[in-house]
Amino acid sequence: MAVEVRIPTILRTYTGGEKAVTGAGSTLSEVIENLEGNHPGIKERLIEDGGLRRFVNVYVNDEDVRFTGGLDTSIADGDQVVVLPAVAGGAGNRAEPAEHCSAERADL
């Protein structure tokens, strides 16, 4: 099963700058293994502890795979796979200790 996999800017170091590469497999897991064979190192950026990383979104034909079986999501010939890092952040919880920042902020 050949599929096109859209690669985000941050991971193009693994694909020689290519925005999209061809992968193969009958599940998302197999496609990622196949990608790893051609683009070593990319798997670790997608998978952690046997599951998809929390801040990596993968879509198969526009569906977020978190709702379609995750790494077990089945892949058919011609499917479109898109990888996008989450866009997230924020100030965080002020109630938590300020760690090492306190010393730097003492002069404010």
């Binding site: 985000p8 800017t9 941050i10 801040f55 979104n57 879509y59 526009d62 977020d64 978190r66 898109v82 996008l84 890092p85 989450a86 866009v87 997230a88 952040g89 924020g90 100030a91 965080g92 919880n93 002020r94």
Partner: protein, 169 residues
């Protein structure tokens, strides 16, 4: 190695037009006390923030923001169709300074983007409901966990916007 590295070799400056700058500040004020977020897209490789796109903070939180997964996909597909990329990724801090938090640094995964932080912490400090207080607007590059602040240059609004203004006078 300390986090701050002065004198980056990057030609770091954010040039942004007044209309877009105002739109980001207005969005941050509107969503206060929750964090506001969005992007300004521009032609790929141009470093020109031209198309303002406010996004919904799916977290709806005063301390965290995240684009909704489907919104994120729709945004990127739209940009790809236009040969654009996110030139600016902005969000607000509503109780703290406009400096990237640990979360901001850990989650910054667009190496070509200017990360704009707006602080509304003092915008509503009058206590009379007046939103005229100062809003700070700062820009950073965040690459591999290294934060480099850069100056912000606000340029006059594009001609289309001033044409609109003239038609109203």
């Amino acid at each position: 190695m300390s986090g701050f590295r002065p004198g980056s070799t990057l030609d770091g400056v954010l040039r942004i037009d007044q209309g877009t700058y105002d739109a980001i500040v207005a969005h941050a004020k509107r969503d206060h006390p929750n964090e506001a977020c969005g992007v300004v897209a521009g032609p790929e490789g141009s470093d020109r923030p031209e198309r303002f796109i406010s996004m919904v903070n799916a977290a709806g939180s005063p301390t965290y923001y995240e684009f909704d997964s489907q919104d994120l996909l729709a945004l990127y597909k739209d940009m790809w169709a236009r040969d654009e990329e996110p030139v600016v990724i902005y969000h607000s801090h509503t109780a703290t300074e406009a400096y990237p938090s640990r979360t901001d640094i850990a989650r910054a995964e667009e190496p070509n983007a200017h990360y704009v932080l707006v602080s509304t912490a003092e915008a509503f400090s009058g206590g009379d409901g007046n939103s005229g207080g100062p809003v700070s607007f700062r820009s950073y590059r965040i690459i591999d966990g290294t934060v480099t602040e850069e100056p912000v240059t606000v340029v006059p609004a594009p001609e289309a916007a001033s044409d609109t203004d003239r038609s109203q006078s």
